[in-house]
Amino acid sequence: MWRTLYEKIWDKHTVVEEQNKPSILYIDLHLVHEVTSPQAFEGLRIKNRKVRRPDLTVAAMDHSIPTTDRSLPFNDPIAKKQVDALVKNCREFGIQLFDLESRYQGIVHVIAPELGLTQPGMTIVCGDSHTSTHGAFGALAFGIGTSEVEHVLATQTLKQFKSKTLALNIHGSLPQGTTAKDLILSIIGKYGHDFATGYVVEYRGEAIRNLTMEERMTVCNMSIEMGARAGLIRPDEKTFHYLKGKQAVPDGVKWEEALAEWKQYFSDEDAKFDLTADFNAAEVIPQVTWGTNPGQCSGISEDIPLLEDLPADQIGPAKKALKYMDLQPGTPITEIEINKVFIGSCTNSRIEDLRKAAKIVNGYEVAEKVEALVVPGSQLVKMQAEAEGLDQIFINAGFQWREAGCSMCLGMNEDIVLPEERCASTSNRNFEDRQGRNARTHLVSPEMAAAAAIAGRFIDVREWPVKNSKEVSVQ
């Protein structure tokens, strides 16, 4: 029988399969953070249950922590309580924790790949919807609720119904000056915010093969923004090369053994998908969202659509979104002025993202009315960026250079967008009030965010005059 990549991982991990019931699926790696775990640990305690495999569980602090000077006490006593609960729970149940002092601290979806914990063919879960990020390695990775977090802690398994499969064939290659972020926003823009609900999406085709691992993570990260259960990309030489030598990856004979195993994870040529869709990467232009879901986006050289040009079922939501965003249909995207810029989040806070943004910023200054933040996804990313001098490029231009965390992506700490402020953000969600009450979020790539910080409005990075590029080590 021909099988898809998803089915191969599924089959490999089913412990029990019964008709009309969810299967018991084994979980290889469980990532835990401070916001969605306390009630799960409490549940274990009440029932006197243990964590079955603390050695397959890793915790990090990321969502509600400050990104300012870590030697200072927390300003927010409730966030402190949450972080303390995580420390206590990890100690009590024997779970490894990357706390604020750890050199490996960061956003869970940034640290697991960079440490090499994320590997092909694995099942990975976390009480966070952007767990889909790890699918870039050909791992089946998805977000779960807190009751399921408790279930995984207690049993190292999950009860799951099988998802349907969707092959998304992406033809052609991305044009110069466009990014993985523009690609995924364009896809969601074309197919809609709930297009893949109930499906596991496999991204295929030339454009995907050409992406770097970090770019693939950006794409898979946003799978959930079209409703998908998970996103997957077939592991290849790039994947193996990325993993080789990482802290958690074996070497020697075990590496060879792992590699042989990983190479089995691909969809057979004749495997059947429940649904197939096509997309032409060659037509992608830099994207900017103008609405309150990621599918409401336009190209930088376009206008906010006129309501009459939209499909009937999108007119109502677009009207509502534009009211919230205080924008008019027909406005050119390049006329939208911004006053906040956030470069960060599990979508775009890896070292390549920072290098690309720094290349744009180098030699320029942030526009006077703009407050701009760079929040690296992890301490390792931060250290690497500092070693390359990227921090200085940002600081010289007037950006704030912060400690690692989720930060303004969801504004659970002090990093928020104020009411009616307009933010160019490299994060993944532009929902109402997401970055702060009445905050107006425009999702963009790191390059577009960097250029917007300097111009004070959205501007086409494809025409950006890069300065002194020799001084920036862009690799």
Partner: protein, 201 residues
């Protein structure tokens, strides 16, 4: 978890598509480490402005403020995986949500918290919106056992639900307990299963 059989009450029509979990329970309320205390903050930004109830939101209006049934548009519960969303909904007193589609994680989370999410075709949802507009205080009776909803005007709609999910609500299953009954199978699975990462870093 409370078990669930029959339910009747007022339907609150929330005429919005893509209602996300950030809207259901905003992030500033996610710092609690308990499972309770979220109900009063349900739809906080939509219900309140400067600490005062906004009259333009359905749950602020009589007779909908105590409605146990919520009617909404497609892709309800999209976005963040936070189970705080169903916690808030259940604690507020809403036990049934009717929509043309739900986001995956939210849908799953509902069953763990005694909430019944019912998927109905767009035209049925449209009809229910129409009826609740025409007769303010419109009520429905939801019968999970027989998988149908009806009003007092003789309108009856049947709905689909996977039998496992139905049982989950009817019997209030302890899923973890049930899985732990398969502990030996998990043990033997683990013996043969290979994991290649090492956590000692």
């Amino acid at each position: 978890m409370k078990s669930f059989k029959r339910f009747s009450g007022i339907v609150a029509p929330l005429d919005a598509a893509n209602v996300d979990t950030d809207a259901i329970i905003p992030k500033q309320f996610l710092k609690r480490i308990e499972r309770t205390g979220f109900g009063e903050f349900l739809f906080y930004e939509w219900r309140y402005e400067n600490g005062r109830q906004r009259q333009d939101f359905i749950l602020s209006q009589e007779p909908y403020c105590k409605a146990p049934i919520l009617l909404a548009r497609k892709n309800f519960g999209c976005g963040s995986s936070r189970e705080h969303a169903p916690w808030a909904i259940a604690e507020y007193g809403i036990r049934v949500i009717l929509a043309p589609s739900f986001a995956d994680i939210f849908y799953n989370n509902c069953f763990k918290n005694g909430i019944l999410p019912i998927v109905l075709p767009e035209r049925d949802i449209e009809l229910l919106f129409q009826k609740s507009r025409e007769s303010p205080g419109y009520q429905l009776r939801v019968d999970l056992e027989n998988q149908r909803i009806e009003d007092s005007f003789g309108c009856m709609v049947e709905f689909d639900i996977v039998s496992y999910r139905k049982d989950q609500l009817l019997r209030g299953l302890d899923e973890i307990g049930a899985t732990l009954e398969s502990a030996e199978l998990i043990d033997s699975y683990e013996v043969a299963h290979k994991i290649f990462y090492k956590l000692e870093i």
